[in-house]
Structures are given as structure tokens and as C-alpha cells.
Symmetry: C2
Subunit: 96 residues, 2 copies
């Protein structure tokens, strides 16, 4: 089971994500990032890889795609806020 | 090249789509529909098929996914409104 991130965990885990372009969502305990690619094919290829990781970890993004751009929002509905799973998926999305 | 739908074409082509759950987007010459599936795997599988058709026809959707739900908006940016390509992709999305 996931738990909401503690204050100490937030500093340690979210700080590095903010360095790579993630940011807090206004009014929600959630993080967001816009990923840009060189084509629709690249964007969908990336989404497909991320989707398989998401399903493997049973932790799914909210995401919006138009052409070569993907807007991602991550949060953990079960805990009504950010958990370690969001950090794990965010890192994976950055690394794909 | 695509052209904006004429009034006559709208009646003939959009009418049947409105019967399957498509509707006009408020304030835009665009159509939208929410597709619901039984799982994230099914939703992404459908998106992957639709994406390949979209790329083949060089006509791409705006779409938002969260878990088993996909919100789709179709319009043709080149003509600042609906064209026959939107109708073609909408029909394909319904049929997949």
C-alpha cells in the first residue's frame, strides 16, 4: 500500500524532480510536467512505454496528448496526494 | 488538402456521429466524445490503434486519458474548424 509522502520525504524526493521540470499543480497535491518530442510517433512511443510501466506498477497517470506534446499529472488517488509511487513513475518517465 | 465542412456536409456527416455520442465542443468548431473501457490496458490498446490511423492519415486528435477513460477532441487546425478528416477519424475511433 502507498502512503502520502511525509514532509521529510517530500524534500528529499521531490527536490530532484523539480530540477528536471516537474512542478506542483495549483490547488492539488500533485505534480505535472510537459514532455515535448519531435513527432507524434515519438510522443506515442514514449506514452506506450510509460503506460506499460504504469500498468506494471498499478499506478496510472492523468495525461493529455496533442501531436508531439504530452502533459502529465501524477498523484495517488488512494491517499489523496503524492506518494512514493508518483516519484517512482516520474523518474521512470524522465528516463525513458 | 482538407477544407472546412460546408453546411450541407455538416448535416450529412455530423448527424450520424451525434447519434453515437459525439457532440460539439462549446466555443470551438470541434467535436468531442468520451470513450470508456474496462481497464487501462484496453484504453491504451484502443489509443494505440487510433494513433496509428491518425498518423497514417496525418490527422491527430487532442486526447486526455485517465485510467480506463479517454476524452477525445477532433478539429482541423489547418482550416480552423471541422473537416472531412475529423469525420473520418471519428468514425474509425467508433469502429475500432
Amino acid at each position: 500500500m502507498s502512503e502520502k509522502l511525509s514532509d521529510a520525504a517530500r524534500d528529499a524526493m521531490l527536490g530532484p524532480l523539480f530540477e528536471t521540470g516537474w512542478e506542483m499543480v495549483d490547488g492539488r497535491d500533485a505534480i505535472r510536467k510537459t514532455f515535448k518530442f519531435d513527432s507524434f510517433i515519438s510522443a506515442m512511443g514514449w506514452m506506450t512505454q510509460a503506460a506499460i510501466w504504469a500498468e506494471k506498477w498499478n499506478h496510472h497517470p492523468e495525461w493529455f496528448n496533442v501531436y508531439s506534446k504530452v502533459d502529465v499529472v501524477l498523484t495517488t488517488h488512494d491517499v489523496a496526494g503524492l506518494s512514493a509511487l508518483d516519484v517512482k513513475l516520474a523518474r521512470k518517465m524522465d528516463s525513458i
